[in-house]
Amino acid sequence: MTGLFAGRRVTAITMTAPLVVIVIAFLGWPIVWTLALSLTNKAITGPTALHSSFIGLANYKELFASGSGLVHSIVLSLYYLVASAYIGQALFGFLLAYLMRRCPYPVRAVVGSIVVVSWLIPEIIAAWMWFTLLSDGGTLQQALHGAGVGYSTWLISHPMISVSLANSWRGVAFSFLLFSAALSDIPTDLIEAAQVDGANAWRRLSKIIVPMLSATILVDLVLITLGTLNDFTLIFAMTGGGPGTSSTVLSVFMYQQAFVSFQLAYGTAIAVVLLAVGAVFAVVYIRILRRQGALQVAR
């Protein structure tokens, strides 16, 4: 037993006990059951709801066969991740935090509040707001029409961009706040010294600021990755996964199969795949964070 809890094992166990008890009690059995379910052919209704049978990995075989839509969904999920999370939230959040520091207080307060309020709006409401903005006959179309510009309904012609915009709008506040705090922790004299030395804004950014913030950046990426991969409501309410399957990310694909087509076991197999994808990202990030020494995780 090492570390700062030496000889305090009981305390450590007591403190983590509520978490462990609750998670195991409420999530433990459902998770096990879900994994088992994915190996059957159970449906929500129909004969297999009554008499489901064990079919081994048949669901997975069907999923990984070509034409199932799985690979397409995974690709779309990754697109959504890169566009709405990495670019739209992390990068954009960082830029916003960086620019905000050079803004007078009123601007910071007002825009900061607006950005945070967008984050606080319930997800389904945000979805409707963006739906009415980008839909056929919606706000954007009417505005462009007034200006004499044509509008091809983005929600239909560019569904992934539409949902990515909406998710970025909704989520950037988190990264923004994270980076704002981290940036304010950088000693100003360090930056001033670099300025005096003749480093321009770009060099200051790349050589000093970003390296100092690397831990924050990584943690931000982990958090938004897992949140975005599982994101369901926003996309489902805005496009329903459509048109066709052009915005059917993994979470939407899973829901459709399990609860719209009523193929529960098949949908559960997709959920397992979703979990696996998330796990891959989690493991990669933790490895990087550990090597950075940024994570207080035992070696």
């Binding site: 403190m15 459902p30 706040l177 982990v222 897992l226």
Partner: protein, 269 residues
Amino acid sequence: MTALRRRLPAVIVSLIGVLFLVPFAWLVVVAFQQHGTLELSGGGSFTLDHFGQVLHGGFLSALGNSLYLAGGTMVATTVIGVLAAYPLSRFQSRTQRYFVYVLVFLTGLPVVAIIIPTYDFFVAADFINSKFWTVWFMTATALPFGTWIACSFIDAVPRELEEASWIDGMSRWGSLLRIVVPLIVPGMCVVAVYTFVNAWGEFFIPFILLQSQNAPASVTMFSYFGQYNTNYSEIAAFALLYSLPPVALYLIVTRWVGQGFALTGAIKG
């Protein structure tokens, strides 16, 4: 030229602020229209009727349910999460490492996938249609993420601050409550607000586990959608009212913390 350059960030940021307001347009316009549609125009004259109809349509009891569910989840997650995050941050061992892995892995759990076995479990345990037990389930789903965030905040508190007090004979509980917690109050606020906002918007869990008298606003909202017709103005009015509590909570919390939610003491590594 230099003056413009200095003003440029403010101009860009202000522009971003304006753009961020655009999606609110439909909501604030249609809620006040007589016969709103998906379009902004042609909705008829100004009226406050829809707010009245929403408020008389059982909104307040749904709001109460929402506050119970989201508030309960928020409190339970914050308290239990911070408590568990402390040893996770300070205790170094192999088990701790796997523990963190499992925790991060669990944050990737799609709740929709496990709702059916949860329903069966709730029926068997007679937890069904109980807001109390639904809160605990929602807490269980929120804890991995919440604990993980709390862990990051606690990591940022230097151990030296505590070590001195341990030498003086203070217990781990003592140093947690008296030294660490005061320093991570902003972090706790992040966990609290984040958990509340997510729980506030949660539809599927309360939909499956609760019946109508216990339904939160996230479920009753859909009563304005008919099979073939939809009452858009009422939905917009509902949406405005429904979005107020999370915003109010945020304002209360930041005022209480007094730091404008700047996440100081945040993740540094």
